[in-house]
């Protein structure tokens, strides 16, 4: 038997009796002293498909409105309740700090997209090594400029933010923002406003998500 971990929370009295996780497995709380893990038991590892991934996400979403939660990296399995309790105890201070960091906030995703695939920026047509490098680097510079514009407009509306430049030229920027609950609509309006101003890029916003991007190591400022 393995325990699949979904999330950690400080709310000990969370109602999870009706909660079903991956593969319909019942979800229960493990731990105490103001720090518990949500987990489900599995004799066999769940199939790694779309339904499983959304099933995992649904568990966290169903508690995130009533408690601050730290989503756990998908696929984390521990053997026994005691293992979970030991982990919670060993990392107690760090985990409670992270809970404070995300309490009252949700994560919103903003992706920058070039509407027409600009991958063919003719690196192949370059006649010299220098031209080839410039053709290769131009999309990255463009992506960094787009990321800067996204941050310049949206950082003031978020508790924290981060982004990655992706190697795929047509979807160059993936940004995440930690936004106070109640400010989501205002944030999305700001995204829509910036999207309308961008001549060559499109912004796609999804969420609210649990704060996946803001609970890694170390704490993101």
């Amino acid at each position: 038997v393995s325990l699949l971990l979904y999330a950690l929370t400080g709310e000990a009295g969370l109602a999870v009796d009706e909660l079903r996780g991956v593969g319909g497995a019942p979800v229960r709380c493990i731990g105490g002293r103001g720090l518990v893990a949500l987990a489900s038991e599995h004799d066999e590892l769940p199939a790694l498909d779309e339904e499983t991934l959304w099933g995992f996400e649904r568990v966290i979403e169903s508690v995130m409105d009533s408690a601050a939660v730290l989503p756990v990296r998908f696929g984390t399995l521990l053997s026994t309740d005691e293992d979970v309790e030991r982990m919670l105890e060993a990392r107690r201070e760090e985990l409670l700090g992270k809970l404070d960091h995300v309490r009252g906030a949700v994560e919103l995703s903003v992706r920058g997209v070039w509407p027409e695939a600009s991958e063919s920026v003719t690196a192949g047509a370059a006649t010299s090594g220098t031209e080839y490098m410039q053709a290769r680097l131009a999309p990255q510079r463009r992506a960094r400029e787009l990321a800067q514009r996204i941050h310049a407009r949206l950082d003031d509306r978020a508790r924290a933010s981060r982004h990655r430049i992706l190697s795929r030229a047509s979807v160059p920027v993936a940004a995440a923002f930690l936004v106070d609950r109640g400010s989501e609509d205002e944030f999305v309006r700001a995204v829509t406003g910036l999207d309308a101003e961008l001549a060559d890029a499109e912004l796609v916003c999804t969420g609210p998500w649990p704060a996946y991007s803001f609970v890694g190591d170390p704490i993101d400022g």
């Binding site: 779309e50 399995l77 992706r111 047509s170 969420g207």
Partner: protein
């Protein structure tokens, strides 16, 4: 930028983008805990393969 896409392709795209955002977060985000076992890396690679296909699907929807 208004894409001028039809309702169907917007919905198709939103679904695919949400799935990509989900995969990104589940597989690269979250608190990292050293488990006794972690779901096999080979399985994760399968999901990544699907992810690449879905990114392609998004590109297609956006180009329309």
């Amino acid at each position: 930028v208004s894409s001028g896409a039809t309702g169907v392709s917007v919905e198709h795209r939103a679904r695919n983008v949400a799935l990509i955002d989900l995969l990104d977060r589940l597989l690269q985000g979250g608190v990292v805990i050293r488990g006794d076992v972690t779901l096999a890396a080979a399985d994760i690679d399968l999901v990544r393969l699907d992810l690449r296909l879905m990114v392609a699907a998004v590109d297609k929807a956006m180009g329309s």
